[in-house]
């Protein structure tokens, strides 16, 4: 049944698929993960804080984001933010953000909500005595967090954080809705230009599968390497 398939189309488009498409996908994944983890950790600390109101605000944000489909948020950001920018700055025309920046901000803010819940679980997994010991030694909240609680929380949560990153890696393909060319977008364009839909989509699926599988395998190995000796 593969007789009249043209596998050569893949070879011909490799540079475009990987140098343009995959580079964008990986950059977006890594940058959104980094930003998402930082903001997510701050959100988690806010959710667990006993400063009046702070926990509720962070909680409301997380619940709002988590109850919306990602595609909707991508759309919303891409089409509405220029107008909000215009409204805030009072400019005469909508502020152009650019597709990459828009996608990056969207994914960062979106993922932050998920990373927040992961980090919250991570912080809560550290026995209360650890915080008490840090306090008893005279550490301030920020020192105790930075030196004692978060390093342990991160280590406990690395597998889950990286699993979430793999999900993010797959979700970045949704940027096609704002016509950004990621790996999937590149494959899709070639597929339609050359009329080779089956070949390109099969190839794209295989690439996502292999990368995700390799990453999961690496996560499992990393997990045993960084485990805290108990």
């Amino acid at each position: 049944m593969f007789a009249n398939f043209d596998w050569d189309v893949i070879i011909r488009s490799l540079p475009y698929l990987f140098l343009d498409g995959m580079r964008f996908t990986i950059m977006l994944t890594l940058m959104a993960t980094a930003g998402g983890v930082v903001i997510g950790t701050l959100l988690a600390m806010a959710r667990l804080s006993n400063i009046p109101g702070l926990s509720q605000v962070a909680g409301a944000y997380v619940n709002l984001i988590r109850s919306m489909p990602l595609v909707l948020v991508i759309f919303w950001f891409y089409f509405l933010v220029p107008y909000i920018g215009q409204w805030i700055t009072g400019a005469s025309r909508p502020i152009q953000v650019g597709a990459f920046l828009s996608a990056l901000v969207t994914f960062t803010l979106f993922e932050a909500a998920y990373f927040c819940e992961i980090m919250r679980a991570g912080i809560q997994s550290i026995p209360r005595g650890q915080a008490q010991a840090a306090q008893a030694l005279g550490m301030t909240y920020w020192t105790a967090m930075g030196e004692i609680i978060l390093p342990q929380a991160f280590r406990n949560m690395v597998p889950v954080l990286l699993t979430q990153t793999i999900i993010l890696f797959q979700d970045t393909s949704l940027v096609y809705v704002i016509s950004v060319t990621d790996f999937f977008g590149a494959a899709s364009k070639v597929a339609q230009r050359d009329g080779r839909l089956v070949e390109m989509y099969l190839f794209a699926a295989a690439v996502y599968f292999i990368i995700s599988l390799a990453a999961s395998y690496w996560v499992r190995r990393l997990q045993s390497r960084i485990a805290i000796i108990r």
Binding site: G129, Q132, A133, L137, M139, E147, I148, I229, R230
Partner: protein, 242 residues
């Protein structure tokens, strides 16, 4: 050194400390004992503000713990505390456990902090274990490291919250020996413990608590010789039978 006056504390509607008053003078060793759930640990945690309290005052070296204006981290840095479950930082080496707070809190340079840590490890007999992680040590060794960690801050007083309760019987003595040596050196100590042998040997006074109250506050010899309260007598007869 430590003055606790009329401290009361509630968890919701349940009162866990009832009008507690006590004093620990400089160089004194005071043992706090009593049945579990009597508020001993809560009381000792009020001394460095790990547990907030609703009424009364606690002062350490003239500084009020409950006062909102007090810089609590700064005060806590001067009071050593040893916990029932050691609470060493499992992701840091033994040496780093000893030096971290010296560097981050006291602002010592890392070399001086390491030097200090090494000396204290030697003092608790664990020089060989500086580069290990807490999880690689036995309970007794971990607790000795925890004592060294507290001492590294040059505390003016030490608080012990049931330091031997989580240990296997054969490890209790190695920890108690360190504590006895510390008491002999003149350290001001407040010790929550069930180790009556230790109390007899080094305590100047014994506080007996029951149901959130300090029922008895007596010199050690008097406490073991002729405890006044019936509850203390019952407690003693039970615990000394073992």
């Amino acid at each position: 050194m430590i003055t606790i006056s009329n401290v009361s504390k509630w968890y919701g509607t349940m009162q866990v400390l009832k009008n507690c008053s006590a004093e620990v003078a400089k160089g004194e060793v005071v043992v706090v004992c009593g049945p579990s759930g009597s508020g001993k640990s809560t009381l000792i945690k009020c001394v460095n503000g790990l547990e907030p309290f609703e009424q009364g005052t606690v002062t350490v070296d003239g500084i009020s713990v409950g006062d909102r204006k007090t810089n609590l981290p700064k005060l806590r840095a001067r009071i050593g505390m040893v916990f029932q479950h050691f609470e060493l930082f499992p992701h840091l080496s033994v040496m780093r456990n000893l030096s971290l707070a010296q560097i981050k809190v006291l602002g010592r340079n890392p070399k001086a902090a390491d030097e200090k840590g090494r000396k204290l490890l030697e003092r608790v007999g664990l020089s060989a274990h500086a580069d290990k992680f807490p999880g690689q040590l036995s309970g007794g060794q971990q607790q000795r490291v925890a004592i060294a960690r507290a001492l590294a801050m040059d505390p003016i007083a030490m608080l012990f919250d049931e330091p031997t309760s989580a240990l296997d019987p054969e490890m209790i003595n190695e920890v108690l020996d360190v504590m006895v040596a510390l008491a002999k050196d003149g350290m001001t100590m407040m010790v929550v413990t069930h180790e009556m042998g230790f109390a007899r040997k080094v305590a100047n006074r014994v506080l007996f608590m029951d149901k959130g109250e300090i029922v008895e506050d007596a010199p050690t010899a008097d406490f073991f010789g002729k405890p006044r309260s019936e509850r203390a007598q019952m407690f003693l007869s039970k615990i000394l039978q073992q």
